[in-house]
Amino acid sequence: MNSSPLAALAGQIAAGESSPEKAAADACAAIDRAAVLNAFIQITEKRAATDIERAEQLIDSGNSPLGGVPVAVKDIICTLETRTTCASKLLAEFTSPYEATVTGLLAKAGAVVVGKTNLDEFAMGTTGEHSAFGATRNPWDRQRVPGGSSSGSAAAVAARLVVAALGTDTGGSVRMPAAYCGICGIKPTYGMVSRRGLVAYGSSLDQAGVFASAAADLRIVLAAIAGHDPGDSTSRPDAGLAETVLPENLNGIRIGVVEQLFGQGVSDEVAGPVRAAIGQMQQLGASIVKLEIESIRHAIPAYYIIACAEAASNLSRFDGIRYGSRASGEDIEQVIMRSRSQGFGAEVKRRIMLGSFVLCHGYIDAYYRKAQQLRRKLIDEFASAFAQCDLIAAPAAPTTAPRLGEFGDDPVRMYGQDVCTVPANLAGLPALSIPCGFAAGLPVGLQLIGAKMSDALLLDCAQVYQGKTDFHLQVPPEYQ
């Protein structure tokens, strides 16, 4: 049951049955009809017009892997001819003077950016509710969150407003919303995709990722954006998606099952479909290896220490002087403090303050250094695991999509949702989420985690699985 809506639309455009302009217009009309989802912060007509012109030339020259299809981009990725707000009041009118490498590559491959999508402010959130532009809603149930932080990109693909979208994943911000919204999402190996032009949250963890309804389409987009970028000092010299011949089955693939990834709050309604999917992969020829990765139980606190420490440093640049809105004050110190206090939302403030705490004298060794030691231990334990298996299968999220406001004022409960996703970020590993079932009408995501640079293998296995299942073909009833 493999499908490629992206390739199908690109094929229609190539055959003259549609055009980049018509496809973009159709996408904009669909976005307009689905405005209640609040998936988009802006529709980018001017940028789309530029992309359409380029796409038509590329299609004429026979060199357009993305074939003029409309795509959406998380509004934390810098694009020319648009604002880049990071869903923050502070950057509500910010226009980047340069283009991110990933979106430049999308355009060079013939994609048309039709809009910038909503997110948790500065990519800090698990639910998609922490945006200065309002919460995004889940197309499967609008009283539920779509997941964050790449909430709008996930909701847009789930509602079939665009065939693919870019997100970023620092602790699960692609895989979590992919799972909640019943679509596919991949976080590549750290360094596989350039971070140049991604507004930084946690620099040692951030990685751009892709959403699509089918794994085959993740592959097409990832192949277009992966590669070494001299403009990003953390870009891998060997970056690039390996070309593979899609296998017919999973013979010879060893799937690791790590019990720690099924504990810590993973609900039975999620664990059931995930274990069933692992069973199906076994029927497709894979063998199962039971593994222990002890340090996973410390991954959440270690992640929040490291991510918040890096956030405190990265977001110090937003001072009301060089970028964004500026508050009035009697001296420069007051201007900076007021600009930040008025510009940042509550979740961003909390994380910056936690980052300041773990880095301050007296606590840095007990918290930040300890988290760095745990990160090393986790990396070593993953390396041992991948000596025994080719990939690890696990839930992408511990529950199905929570209700809007379910976590109230308890950020720590919200952070618990990241339990299955942060280990791959801490270790810099590729990981993807694909739909594997439903619980009470809500999608459940299967996560596949691989060794570094095994992105293509993960996509192969996801495609083989999707060749035998139809969960990825399900569309929310209102958007069919």
Binding site: S204, I332, S356, Y367
Partner: protein, 93 residues
């Protein structure tokens, strides 16, 4: 770990944030929960694992040391600018 008002104010100062007095109690409760979560690492056994700041430990290739075009007009990003200069509040008396 409990945080008193003085510690909370110090953290806010380090983060270059002002605390709204009406929200300080709620923020203190939230921060205490977050610090408690972070504190779970302190009891973890790490043996002699050396700390790691980044997943890429090998040498990263450097760009050639050649002049590159400079993005101009950056001052337009500032909230207040005069010609090509960013205007800031007086910092020298």
């Amino acid at each position: 770990m409990s945080l008193d008002n003085e510690q909370l104010a110090r953290l806010a100062s380090l983060a270059r944030l002002e605390i709204d007095p009406a929200e300080s109690e709620r923020l203190r409760t939230e921060m205490e929960k977050m610090v408690e979560l972070a504190g779970k690492v302190t009891a973890a056994a790490t043996d002699s694992s050396p700390p790691i700041a980044h997943v890429q430990q090998g040498d990263q290739p450097l760009r050639p040391d050649d002049p590159q075009p400079v993005t101009d007009n950056l001052s337009r990003l500032a909230a207040e600018a005069d010609a090509d200069m960013v205007v800031v509040p007086r910092v020298v008396e």
